[in-house]
């Protein structure tokens, strides 16, 4: 067994008064910002490029490259949006770092703002995170008092305001252009891309959208340097020139049927099995894992034979999953019916589809209806064929929808049919009904 990993992003969790600016600074906080302000903005971007940091919000996009997409020499306003909508089932890492160490995130926002020459930052926070909202508001007030925000930050000539903006309980507001529409006061209908937000985003101005955890990584990269960041995680694949590697540590959320659900920080590349056995107390009730979600339900399922898959940016894809996603690992034990599990994911996406693309709106609604029918003991083998058709035709990968929600809806279906088909066939043949209770809306 390897030595215990010394947490970076989670190093201040559980410490007394960890949300106050004084304890944060006593622990070395805001050194990254001071170092950044001593550089030119472009040098800060270069530092982030060199670190090979990839976005933690789900898509794994190279952070520094995204910042480079901003138009050069633009003189109008540039916006930075912080994506704190965190709604992918299984995911709670943004909540924990905000509640336990808000300044680490806020420092990263000012650094990113400086590098991108952003004039205003909008922190889009899901409504459910009321405690985060109050913690952040207090921390932001402390920053203004110390001139880490506001006009001419620490005499650098750079000015920035951060405004908190609360969502209203809709998953699609996490998709970056849905977020922008929602921020603008409209329904959160994702936009057709291109143009990408870096060219035309919030209020039709160049905009960068980054996840909360990504920005916390930026803080540490500026403080400790890009070389340090690259000592952690999985290096680039020398045989694949397009691989950007999986550098840094990752906040892995572990939930479901384990003895110790929770958040752990580990170098990218830990396997699902190691996570479950060494960091989550193993599968509960002495049972075995039947399936494991590698990164939020949109990513699909690993089967019991695939638990040695490394959870880096490439591993889940090699096992037929959509990707690493949010690294939210959900463990499903061998007493659970995959029919119930798949119904739950299909119902989720049917509920959360914004409805503007026909394949997504109809495909998610029908897949939930079909699974419901199967659960009632009224499914047929043809239903499995219909599910298969839906899973192969909706999404940005087949090219039929505007955003990736539909790919996320398709993947659990696809993986369930590939990896657990006999269980579905047996269930349908038996004519059994699901034993799970279901409560429906009154209206």
């Amino acid at each position: 067994m390897s030595e215990a990993f010394e947490p970076i992003l989670l190093r201040r969790v559980g410490k007394p008064n960890n949300t106050s600016i004084d304890t944060y600074m006593a622990d070395g906080g805001y050194n990254g910002l001071k170092k950044a302000l001593a550089m030119q903005p472009d040098e800060v971007t270069q530092t982030v490029i060199k670190s090979n940091l990839r976005g933690r919000g789900g898509a794994g996009f190279h952070t520094g490259s995204k910042w480079m997409f901003l138009p050069k020499g633009y003189t109008g306003p540039i916006y930075l949006c912080i994506n704190g909508d965190e709604s992918e089932p299984g995911t709670f890492n943004n909540r924990v770092i905000i509640e336990e160490d808000p300044h680490q995130v806020l420092e990263g926002i000012v650094i990113a703002g400086y590098a991108t020459r952003a004039t205003t930052a909008y922190f889009y926070l899901r409504y459910e995170y009321g405690r985060c909202y109050r913690t952040l508001q207090k921390a932001i007030d402390e920053m203004y008092a110390k001139n880490f925000l506001g006009k001419n930050i620490l005499g650098s000539g750079y000015s920035l305001d951060i405004h908190l903006h609360r969502g209203a309980c809709a998953y699609i507001c996490g998709e970056e252009t849905g977020l922008i529409e929602s921020l603008e006061g409209k329904r959160a209908w994702p936009r057709i891309k291109p143009p990408f937000p870096a060219i035309e985003g919030a209020f039709r101005r160049p905009t960068i959208v980054n996840n909360v955890e990504t920005l916390a990584c930026v803080t540490n990269i500026l403080d400790r340097g890009p070389e340090w960041f690259q000592t952690i995680g999985v290096p680039k694949d020398p045989n694949n020139p397009r691989d950007a590697g999986s550098y840094g540590s990752k906040l892995y959320c572990i939930s479901g049927h384990v003895n110790k659900p929770g958040l752990v920080e580990l170098p990218l590349g830990i396997t699902a099995r190691q996570l479950i056995d060494q960091h989550a107390g193993g599968v509960w009730k002495d049972r075995k894992a039947k399936a494991v979600v590698p990164g939020g339900i949109s990513m699909g399922f690993l089967s019991a034979d695939e638990l040695d898959t490394p959870l880096d940016f490439n591993g889940p894809g090699r096992a037929g999953c959509l990707g690493l996603g949010t690294a939210a690992v959900i463990v499903i034990d061998d007493h659970t019916s995959m029919v119930d599990v798949l119904y739950n994911t299909c119902r989720f996406f049917a509920h959360e589809s914004c409805g503007q693309c026909t394949p997504c709106r109809e495909g998610t609604a029908w897949s939930a209806k079909i699974l419901h029918r199967i659960r009632q003991g009224e499914g047929t083998m043809e239903d499995l064929q219909k599910l298969d058709d839906i899973s192969k035709t909706i999404g940005t990968i087949p090219g039929t929808t505007i955003c990736g929600l539909a790919d996320g809806a398709a993947w659990p279906i696809k993986n369930a049919l590939q990896k657990f088909r006999p269980e579905f066939e047996e269930f349908i043949r038996s004519g059994r009904k699901s034993e799970m209770r279901e409560v429906v809306l009154a209206h």
Binding site: G90, R126, R166, L183, K186, G256, H257, I330, V439
Partner: protein, 159 residues
């Protein structure tokens, strides 16, 4: 008579300087209204529209997209309790919790108890799966809850 008090109007106007246009104040304004009135009545939609220099239809379009807002026919109870039913909570008894709470309170999700105390809602992942099953009361998460906990926290415990 307007439904929005002067205090509430001022709180809405206080948001104007944060955004390049007034339309962006739509969500903050709707939150403020619902917090105070327990719903967003039609008159309030019209008054918010006037404050933000928008057509009422624009406010209504946004409001109706988010299942979060209630019209005057279905105002919220004193407390709003959201019970999570997404996969990690389901795996640890979320559906059972929801079913039992609804049974005990004789309500369906979306309903408010007849005494106006509590509205029960179904939620998708609340971002607290480390404490599944979990609930949200107004905007505070409560982790690892039992049926008794929910009834007590909702002020509906049977002492």
């Amino acid at each position: 008579m307007s439904v929005l008090s002067e205090g509430l109007r001022q709180k809405i106007r206080d948001h104007f300087s944060r955004y390049p246009n007034k339309q962006a104040v739509t969500l903050p304004a709707l939150h403020l209204v619902q917090q105070e009135l327990k719903c967003v009545p039609t008159e309030a939609v019209e008054e918010v529209a006037e404050l933000l220099d928008l057509a009422p239809a624009q406010i209504f379009d946004t409001l109706s997209f988010y299942g979060f807002f209630r019209d005057e026919d279905r105002p919220l109870g004193k407390k709003r309790v959201w019970i999570c039913r997404s996969l990690p909570c389901m795996l640890r008894g979320g559906d059972q919790l929801l079913a039992e709470v609804c049974e005990k309170l004789h309500v369906s999700p979306g309903d408010t108890t007849p005494n106006g105390e509590v509205t029960i809602e179904l939620a998708e992942c609340l971002g607290a799966c480390d404490g599944a099953p979990c609930i949200l009361i107004d905007d505070e998460l409560k982790l690892n809850v039992s049926v008794e906990d929910v009834l007590r926290l909702a002020g509906e415990g049977h002492e």
